[in-house]
């Protein structure tokens, strides 16, 4: 068995990835059918191809939200894989260690203080996310990047930042508060093409950067000593990964608000489905896309006709996963 990537490869990886992609596209297609009334698959397909009376509804109203679920889910999955590799811990994902909540703080502050164009909000979100990463690392410094210490400190930072976010939403002007309530639950509802152009471009760029860093990331997973003596510059490499990883989670958060647990769960589910070694990026991204698309479908259909914020679904499902993961981690020790 010889893969071009020189990474664990082979049939199981390919079959696993194809399986995830097909399921994700099916879920996306069903979501496209959903509206005030369900469209038939035929109508939906025709609409997608630009024929039929539903073209406008499907390509202008439903498609942006479905695309956002897929692309944002992939970005969250990537971000989770990056931080789980950095911390060498399945709990070390940006939504658990407070980076996502902090990115949202940045977005909220920029929205409340400056009127907040999309680019400004995204910048504020990235800056706040990076600042949180610095704080968490500084507090956990003694334990280094890996280990439980960083995760526990991250959980504490996450709790404090989440409380701050709630306070910001409550204290904001009524108008801002109304707009931010759904946002702060993590929602894709009402997304249009205009909203996603910039984030999609950013996520594409970040994904390219991550693809180029992947081999070094897996080398660094062998421990600091072996990574260094096999030629990895750990300092610059980690800095690059933190920036790319925070970039992914913050870009999503700036538009959709904090959507928790996709980053936590997607990399681990992805690596199990594909039988991969370590925490690889591609299965994490694909699984993230599937998870968020499926969650968004549930969010739209569970309480028809009023859609839920997708963050509520991911939190409910992900919370159960987190409990299971914590039990497993505690058992290991």
């Amino acid at each position: 068995m010889r893969s071009v990537l020189g990474q664990p490869g082979g049939p199981r990886l390919v079959v696993g990835c194809v399986g995830i992609v097909v399921t994700g596209l099916l879920v996306a297609f069903v979501t496209l059918m959903h509206g005030a009334t369900w469209s038939t698959p035929g109508e939906t397909l025709a609409g997608l191809l630009g024929h039929g009376e539903q073209t406008f509804v499907i390509t202008r109203w439903r498609a942006p939200q479905v695309s956002a679920a897929l692309v944002f889910g992939a970005a969250l999955g990537l971000s989770g894989a990056v931080f789980q590799n950095l911390t060498r811990n399945p709990l070390g994902s940006p939504d658990i260690i407070g980076l996502e909540a902090s990115a949202f703080t940045g977005a909220l502050v920029v929205t409340a203080c400056l009127s907040g164009t999309a680019a400004q909000v995204a910048t504020g979100s990235v800056v706040a996310g990076l600042a949180a990463a610095v704080v968490v690392y500084a507090l956990a410094r003694k334990g280094g990047f890996s280990g439980m210490r960083l995760v526990v400190i991250g959980i504490a930072v996450n709790a404090m930042v989440t409380a701050t976010n709630q306070w910001l939403v409550i204290r904001a002007d009524l108008e801002v508060a109304m707009a931010t309530t759904a946002w702060s639950a993590g929602s894709l509802n009402g997304t249009d093409w205009h909203d996603v152009r910039l984030p999609f471009a950013l996520i594409a760029a970040l994904a390219v950067g991550l693809a180029l860093s992947a081999r070094t990331m897996h080398q660094a997973a062998l421990g600091d000593d072996l990574a260094t003596t096999s030629g990895v510059r750990l300092g610059p490499h980690r800095l690059a990964l933190v920036v790319l990883g925070v970039g992914c989670t913050a870009t999503v958060t700036a538009v959709a608000g904090p959507i928790s647990f996709v980053a936590l769960a997607a990399p681990q589910i992805g690596r199990r489905i594909t039988g991969s070694a370590g925490v690889p990026l591609l299965p994490a991204a694909l699984t993230g896309a599937l998870l968020l698309a499926a969650s968004d479908l549930l969010a739209q259909t569970l309480t028809r006709p009023v859609p839920l914020p997708v963050g509520m679904i991911t939190t409910a499902v992900g919370g159960a996963y987190l409990i299971w993961l914590l039990v497993m981690e505690v058992r290991k020790r």
Binding site: V4, L212, R215, H218, T229, S230, G231, G278
Partner: protein
């Protein structure tokens, strides 16, 4: 000077200074063993030789060039290191772990060359783990896993190979397997430096012994010159007799 040379190193962690004025020349093409009591600075010296420990003063040179002036990847193509602690990614197979040893030889492209494949195959054969190739690391015994990690470092195909207490977690037979493997690598032209706990094993397998105590090199040279009753008494604080090893004829320490 050719090869790996340490000049006047000061080494330490935080406030604690482990070594001052530490100098050492690694004889090329030989098997060097570093011995000494616990916490004498053996591992710290080894870590300085492979860029894992930044010297406070002094420098480590490879063929006359300060290691700090070489690109990490360049150093990694010439010096391989087996540390005491490694992390195996969950679920990784033996082959895929050994392939990671090719990291410093590969560029940003994704191609895996025949040279890479040949190096991996050779490393698996040299360490006798070729039958385990498709197994997962977590299914292996400690001795098997240690050989796999060594195979990974061998796949790096470096002229210099440094190992930090590689025999510690191995049972007796596997300890000798590993030492014989190191001797074969030396015979194949590699320069090997190994930190060992067991003086008798070191004296039997090494061409060159470095005895350390309290951060200093106390003696260096051929085992027959270095291993004397006086030196063992001085370095390890053990009253002993040194007699010829009945099998190899190398000096053997027998405690009083």
């Amino acid at each position: 000077m050719t090869g790996l040379v340490a000049h006047d190193l000061t080494l330490g962690y935080g406030e604690r200074v482990v070594s001052t004025g530490l100098s050492l020349a690694v004889p090329p093409g030989r098997l060097t063993a570093v011995i000494g009591p616990n916490a004498c600075g053996k591992s710290t010296l080894l870590r300085a030789l492979v860029r894992l420990q930044e010297p406070r003063a002094g420098r480590v040179e490879l063929d006359g060039v300060d290691l700090r002036r070489l690109r990490p990847r360049e150093v990694a193509r010439r010096i391989g290191f087996l540390p005491q602690r490694m992390v195996a990614p969950e679920g990784i197979s033996v082959t895929h772990l050994v392939r990671r040893g090719r990291y410093p030889h590969r560029d940003w492209r994704l191609t895996w060359t025949d040279v890479d494949e040949a190096a991996v195959t050779r490393a698996l054969l040299d360490t006798g783990v070729e039958d385990l190739a498709s197994r997962r690391i977590e299914e292996l015994s400690g001795g098997q896993a240690q050989r796999v990690w060594l195979a990974m470092v061998l796949a790096q195909e470096t002229e210099l190979l440094l190992l930090d207490e590689p025999t510690t977690f191995l049972d007796l037979a596997h300890q000798y397997d590993l030492l014989r493997l190191l001797a074969r690598l030396r015979d194949a032209g590699r320069t090997v430096v190994v930190v060992l706990h067991d003086v008798n094993q070191a004296a039997r397998f090494a061409d060159h012994l470095v005895a350390m105590q309290a951060g200093r090199v106390v003696a260096a040279g051929a085992p027959a010159e270095v291993v004397t009753a006086d030196l063992v008494e001085q370095v390890f604080g053990l009253a002993c007799e040194v007699v010829p090893d009945p099998v190899a004829g190398s000096p053997m320490v027998v405690a009083h």
